[in-house]
């Protein structure tokens, strides 16, 4: 049984291809790509005229909350959100309960992802045991496990001890694994609640200076440079961080970086509502920072858009600002935010935007063959997007168990119509497929 995606605009950053073409799938693989392919008997034809056909999106930074925090999200609901957002591979962070610092937990998460079958789940391993910043997690065992963990992060907890961070980079180098450190100087952010600046002065919230991010990035860049190790900088949020990474890349440091859709879209004026839906770590910054991040994504200083999809139950978010946890949903709105903010106004070519969601994150670590190409013999991981869909985000209508999207009520352009994971529809006509094995 073959499937024909007919007449879509096929955007494949791996080949620099951006043109109308047909894509024929057979089972799990793409078998033919080209203009005006002849219909074959038995082809199921999906009309993609006016739609974009892209490699399935790849997220380097996701929170699926399972095991341990299933009141916020689990692998089934998070996978559904991912499929609805056009993702075919996601990387859940290690801050679960128990922490993903052993092969057993990584394999559990990976297998549960496979059972659900809506998105490939590529776990991130902890850098240190229990995210405590003291002893290294057994990276070798994690790497050799069925989950093939080659990316390590203590997520929202920075490795503050410089020696431990250096050793982590050294040790991970043996597997050519990537270490991603949360860039936050904890001394500079004592009690911090929002970006430090004009808004924090007025709102009376303790400031979170941009330097708190930059001093940590600078330290880690120096360590990585000295060792030739691979460093990944998660959720870059300041113009100064962009400059540090740009300089390091010019000097040949093996660094990659990601930015979230919310840091590309929101600035700290939204905090005037004191609505904790806007509370996130790192905090949303100034408009100048937003513009610097957009420019950095466009010029490649920042490699990838990553969601930092962070579900929280409503009762946790519905508190005073200073008591509410940090984090926002992202999987179902990420592509639309970037299309609306950057592609539609002409600030970022579609091909580059797609690369930031596919080939570039897939190049940061092993994402299991995701991120393109759209070419014969490649696995059929694809998303078909309606570029003209105008939709208003409704937090309650998203697939995540939690509703904490900062984009609630905003009207965005573009939305995935179909998502295909190895040839199987995980999203079809805007409807997410049922999990293969229910919870």
């Amino acid at each position: 049984m073959t499937l024909m995606l007919k007449g879509g605009r096929v955007v494949d950053p791996t080949r620099g291809h951006d043109d109308v073409a047909d894509v024929r799938l057979d089972g799990e693989r793409i078998v033919e790509v080209g203009p005006d392919l002849a219909d074959q008997a038995g082809d199921e034809v999906v009309d993609c005229a006016g739609l974009w056909v892209l490699p399935g999106l790849v997220d380097l930074h996701t929170h699926l909350r399972e095991p341990g925090f299933e009141d916020a999200e689990d692998i089934a609901t998070g996978s559904a959100a991912a499929a609805a957002g056009g993702y075919t591979a996601v990387a859940p962070m290690a801050n679960t309960l128990p922490v993903c610092d052993t092969a057993a937990v990584a394999e559990l998460v990976e297998r549960r992802g496979r059972d659900v079958g809506l998105v490939d789940v590529r776990p991130v391993g902890a850098i240190t045991v229990g995210l405590a910043g003291q002893r290294l997690a057994e990276m070798g065992e994690l790497y050799d496990s069925h989950a093939r963990v080659d990316f390590f992060s203590d997520d929202g907890i920075p490795v503050t001890d410089t020696l431990i961070m250096r050793r982590a980079l050294q040790y991970a180098a043996r597997f050519d694994a990537v270490v991603a450190n949360h860039s936050q100087d904890m001394d500079l952010t004592e009690d911090a609640q929002m970006n430090e600046g004009r808004m924090s002065a007025v709102l009376g919230l303790p400031g979170w200076p941009h330097e708190a991010e930059e001093v940590m990035i600078a330290r880690d860049l120096l360590l990585a440079a000295g060792l030739g190790a691979r460093l990944h900088v998660p959720h870059v949020s300041t113009a100064g961080s962009v400059e540090l990474i740009r300089l390091a890349k010019q000097r040949g440091v093996r660094v990659t970086a990601e930015v979230t859709p919310h840091h590309l879209h929101l600035d700290d004026t939204v905090v005037a509502t004191y609505d904790p839906v806007y509370k996130v770590n790192p905090p949303v910054r100034t408009r100048d920072d937003v513009l610097a991040l957009r420019a950095a994504l466009a010029d490649g200083t920042i490699d990838a858009v990553a969601t930092d999809h962070a579900p929280h139950p409503h009762e946790q978010k519905d508190q005073e600002w200073d008591h509410a946890p940090c984090g926002m949903l992202g999987l179902e709105t990420a592509l639309a935010v970037v299309v609306t903010d950057l592609v539609e106004p002409g600030d970022l070519p579609l091909l580059d935007a797609v690369a930031a969601f596919t080939t570039r994150p897939a190049g940061v670590r092993d994402m299991g063959g995701h991120g393109g190409p759209i070419a014969p013999d490649a696995p059929a991981n694809l998303v078909v997007v309606d570029p003209d869909a105008r939709w208003t985000v409704d937090g309650r209508a998203l697939h995540s168990r939690a509703h904490n999207t900062p984009f609630h009520g905003e009207t965005l352009t573009s939305r995935p119509v179909h998502t295909l994971l190895r040839g199987r529809f995980t999203l079809r006509d805007g409807v997410v497929a049922d999990p293969k094995v229910p919870a």
């Binding site: 600046g197 002065a201 919230l205 004191y274 005073e320 600002w321």
Partner: protein
């Protein structure tokens, strides 16, 4: 009054501000009577929701509401809404279900009154939230200044002390500029927000490094409380040095113009930001401030609860 809530000085325009102060004069007159009570808010319920310790402000609101014959319900708890076992929304819905006519809220969390207002249709009166705002404090201070000088426009008010941690300072700066006064801020840089542009852009607020440079032409010297614990996080080296650089003493009092007054929102740290001889001098209007607080809070309660029903 046009304002339907008093969460921040931002909720008022210049006209509303003048109306509050004018109304407070009437309330002051009531407070001077032998029977200090009028039936204006009879049958109305004021809820004092105090989520942070407070004695002075709560008592002041309590007396203000009682002088207007309102029923007063006190709801005190410490910490966050959730830490007391109920979500923020549920707290609001509970108050709503009890049919209160206004909620006076004090919280250690900046923004809590605004959040509460999302769930409640009744007027919210902010009695201090985190470092954010303490609007009735600023209004009673302006009332005190206006009573003393007869006007506010053109006054130069120097605010000295811990600006960054002060909800009083934020309300004071905004209220004074709204009234046409000039504001000077004096503090160690560690106790000032790093970006003051929101205030200084308007042109009526400036920062002066040396307190002695600000004394000669100040009409009001407004001192803020400095918590001793701050020195443990390196905001300043010692209370001794703080006092030397930023403390108000007899020498500095003498350097003020003869007509100038000294104010402090209390509670005072005698010997740190102010010496006892200054605090007790006739030029310090600190007890006037406390006294005026009742009239100003009566005015705010009256205008917010009944103000929409009567021609002001």
């Amino acid at each position: 009054m046009k304002a339907t809530r008093l969460i921040s000085i931002d909720d008022l325009d210049a006209e509303d501000l003048a109306l509050v102060l004018d109304t407070a004069e009437v309330m002051d007159e009531i407070s001077a009577r032998r029977i200090k009570k009028v039936p204006t808010l009879r049958g109305r319920t004021v809820c004092n929701l105090f989520l942070e310790d407070s004695t002075r402000t709560r008592l002041s609101f309590d007396i203000a509401a009682k002088r207007l014959s309102a029923d007063v319900m006190n709801f005190s708890a410490k910490g966050s809404s959730v830490s007391k076992g109920e979500s923020f929304k549920d707290t609001a819905l509970t108050l709503d279900a009890m049919g209160v006519d206004t909620v006076v809220v004090r919280s250690g969390s900046s923004g809590a009154p605004l959040q509460l207002s999302q769930y409640l249709d009744v007027p919210i009166l902010n009695a201090g939230d985190g470092w954010h705002q303490h609007p009735t404090q600023a209004l009673l201070d302006l009332y005190t200044m206006r009573s003393h000088f007869g006007h506010l426009a053109g006054l130069t008010v120097t605010i000295c002390g811990d600006i960054i941690h002060s909800r009083v300072a934020r309300s004071e700066i905004e209220a004074l500029t709204l009234a046409g006064a000039t504001v000077r801020l004096v503090a160690p840089d560690t106790l000032l927000p790093t970006d003051l542009s929101a205030w200084t852009d308007g042109g009526n607020v400036e920062v002066i490094t040396d307190l002695d440079d600000a004394l000669g032409d100040s009409d009001v010297l407004y001192l803020l409380r400095v918590q001793r614990e701050r020195m443990h996080r390196a905001f300043f080296p010692s209370t001794r040095e703080y006092h030397r650089l930023y403390g108000m003493d007899a020498r500095r009092l003498a350097a003020l113009p003869d007509h100038a007054i000294v104010m402090h929102p209390g509670p005072m740290n005698r010997g740190v930001e102010i010496t006892p001889d200054v605090a007790d001098s006739p030029r310090a209007l600190i007890t006037d401030q406390v006294n005026n607080g009742i009239a100003v809070r009566m005015a705010c309660l009256y205008l917010l609860i009944a103000g929409s029903e009567v021609d002001a």
